[in-house]
């Protein structure tokens, strides 16, 4: 039932996106149907849900916000729609160590995970800006995801609730070829898997 809903919503958001037509978003989104196809495989059910979860949030992001985070709506302008519950963490160019800002955000995220989302499992998605080489950035993105994972662990989040993946520079949050865009793309997104 739940799965059907997700599939339905994913399909709906796909339709919305197709008519929307932003090149960058499209690239990211069109992944979802592929992941959904894999759903048939019992083993890989979790990552699939992650992927499906994002488009679900997008069209109905307002509802989500009201429902889940009434207190925490003060989201910085940087991340528009997708992860409103757990804040995105940003990195300096070619760096994977956590800035003070990043630590503050992670502390808030840890609090959320320990208090209001006690059962949630999280996938940390590491990303890079477009400037480095694609291959090196896959590893750099993983390092960024790992930095956040380590920090959340030290703050007491249980290891089995955290997984990581790197998208290198393959999934930019925003288009654009300037520092403003790059800064928004050097990031860890936190995706609720369960």
């Amino acid at each position: 039932m739940k799965r059907e809903m997700i599939t339905l919503l994913a399909a709906l958001s796909m339709t919305a996106l197709v008519s929307g037509g932003c090149a960058n978003k499209e690239a990211v989104k069109t992944e979802e149907p592929a992941a959904a196809t894999i759903k048939a495989e019992p083993v890989k059910a979790e990552p699939v849900k992650t992927e499906a979860a994002k488009p679900v949030q997008e069209p109905s992001s307002k509802i989500e916000e009201n429902k889940i985070v009434p207190a925490k709506a003060a989201e910085p302008a940087a991340t528009p729609a997708p992860e409103t519950v757990l804040e995105t963490v940003y990195f300096d160019f070619d760096k994977s160590d956590l800035t003070q800002d990043a630590r503050n955000v992670l502390s808030k995220n840890a609090e959320t995970l320990l208090k209001s989302m006690k059962d949630a499992k999280i996938k940390i998605e590491g990303n890079c800006d477009e400037r480095g080489s694609a291959e090196y950035n896959l590893a750099l993105g993983e390092r960024r995801a790992k930095s956040a994972q380590q920090y959340l662990l030290t703050l007491g989040v249980q290891p089995d609730r955290l997984s990581i993946i790197s998208y290198g520079k393959e999934k930019p949050a925003v288009d654009g070829h300037d520092e403003a865009a790059w800064a928004k793309n050097r990031r860890d997104d936190f995706v609720i898997v369960k």
Partner: protein, 430 residues
């Protein structure tokens, strides 16, 4: 490639065997005069059945001309049927007129189109010595037209330089023409584009098996960057490394028995080799830094790779068992994308500079560091199997496309024509 069963390549019954033998030393002599590039004329092939296929002759000669000019070994020009209206035999060829026009070599040909069937015959003449150097006859369908011409260009290179050309080969690359990064394949000159993967996910870094029949690539299709293998003309994509974390930048060993790749299953990205079926992982690097992009020397004894163990990504070389690691690139703050030349004499790579990346080549001992590109941002060099050419991706035209240049950086030419960004080219073997 897929039409290979339709392609019947026939050595011309009588002369070919003879000429092949006694013309080779002759040919070496022909390449010698001074330092002047050999001049070759391609006379528009004669249509034996003018009722159909009128455009065929021009396309055949254009393909040969483009191939040979890109090789850098021969300066080729297409010429209308100027000096003789008769057949292609030695006696019917007006050598003095071709010689007077300044040509050392001459290609003459004839063809006929019957329905879908195409028959083409080419002959290469040594103008000064008035000899036929080689001849080929091709029987197939009209779809094989460009392939026949590429094949004769390969043959001309063999006769003139002693090494077959790379012109019947293919380039696989990552294309966003569908909106997602899928693996596609084209002829080396950009024609006959075909999409290989259709999984709607992110697909990266194709690499050909040494026999040219299979590719490996990384795909997120199962939710993790896993390494897949597939035959070129079969849609089944087999996951061969789906270990936890990264399974990226796979590179087939020259003998086809192993694959070098970067895995992060043990904590951070390290270089490993696995058997061609994905089993038997052997870890080659042990370092807290990032290691990616392993590539083999053509004899399989060494592996070049990228590591940021000194801070920024640089290219290192090690023995294929992981021993004797040494730094290759010492200039430039950020060097990536190594590719070892097929003859082993050069390693091409990309350096990050102001405004993007540029392609360089360097000798395996670290000398001879040479910049080849300077227009736009250029990445991921890939050698042609004869080492004369390099494919790479460039953003110089706005859109990122696949370009080809000679190994000295001359003749930079866009070859991919599709919409959407094109990146990460891999050049097939012959």
């Amino acid at each position: 490639m897929r039409n290979i069963c339709f392609l019947i390549l026939i050595l011309l019954a009588l002369p070919a065997g003879l000429w092949a033998q006694d013309s080779t030393p002759e040919a070496v002599e022909v390449t010698a005069p001074g330092n002047r590039q050999l001049k070759l004329a391609i006379e528009t092939p004669r249509n034996l059945d003018p009722s159909s296929g009128s455009a065929v002759g021009a396309e055949l000669s254009d393909v040969i001309s483009f191939d040979l000019n890109m090789s850098g070994a021969i300066a080729a020009e297409t010429r209308p049927q100027t000096f003789s209206a008769s057949g292609n035999s030695l006696a019917e060829t007006a050598f003095p007129l071709w010689a007077a026009a300044g040509f050392d070599l001459l290609v003459r040909g004839e063809y006929s189109v019957k329905g879908d069937n195409l028959t083409v015959e080419f002959r290469l003449f040594d103008v000064l010595n008035r000899k036929m150097m080689t001849a080929r006859r091709y029987l197939g369908t009209t779809k094989d037209l460009r392939r026949f011409a590429h094949s004769f260009a390969d043959e001309i290179m063999l006769v003139v330089t002693g090494e077959k050309g790379p012109f019947t080969t293919h380039i696989a690359y990552v294309s966003k023409r569908s909106g997602n990064k899928e693996i596609v394949i084209m002829d080396w000159d950009g024609h006959n584009l075909m999409q290989l993967t259709r999984n709607g996910s992110i697909n990266l870094n194709p690499d050909f098996s040494p026999d040219g029949r299979e590719i490996i690539f990384t795909s997120y299709k199962r939710g993790n960057p896993d390494l897949f293998k597939r035959a070129l003309y079969n849609t089944i994509e087999v996951p061969i490394s789906h270990r936890k974390g990264l399974n990226i930048t796979g590179a087939w060993s020259p003998d086809g028995s192993k694959i070098a790749l970067a895995l992060s299953k043990d904590g951070n990205s390290e270089i490993y080799t696995i058997a061609r079926d994905g089993s038997h992982p052997v870890r080659l690097t042990i370092n807290p830094a990032i290691e990616v992009s392993p590539v083999w020397s053509p004899d399989g004894s060494q592996i070049a790779f990228v590591s940021d163990r000194l801070g920024k990504p640089q290219i290192f070389v090690m023995n294929a068992d992981g021993g004797s690691v040494r730094r290759l690139t010492t200039s430039g703050a950020y060097n990536v994308n190594p590719r070892w030349s097929p003859k082993g004499d050069k390693i091409a790579y990309a350096r990050q500079m102001s405004g993007g990346f540029q392609i360089f080549t360097i000798n395996p001992d670290g000398t001879g560091d040479t910049q080849l590109t300077s227009t736009g941002s250029n990445e991921n060099p890939a050698w042609s199997p004869d080492g004369r050419l390099l494919a790479f991706s460039s953003k110089r035209g706005g859109i990122e496309a696949i370009y080809v240049m000679r190994a000295d950086g001359s003749g930079q030419t866009r070859v991919s024509q599709n919409k959407g960004n094109s990146s990460q080219p891999a050049w097939s073997s012959r």
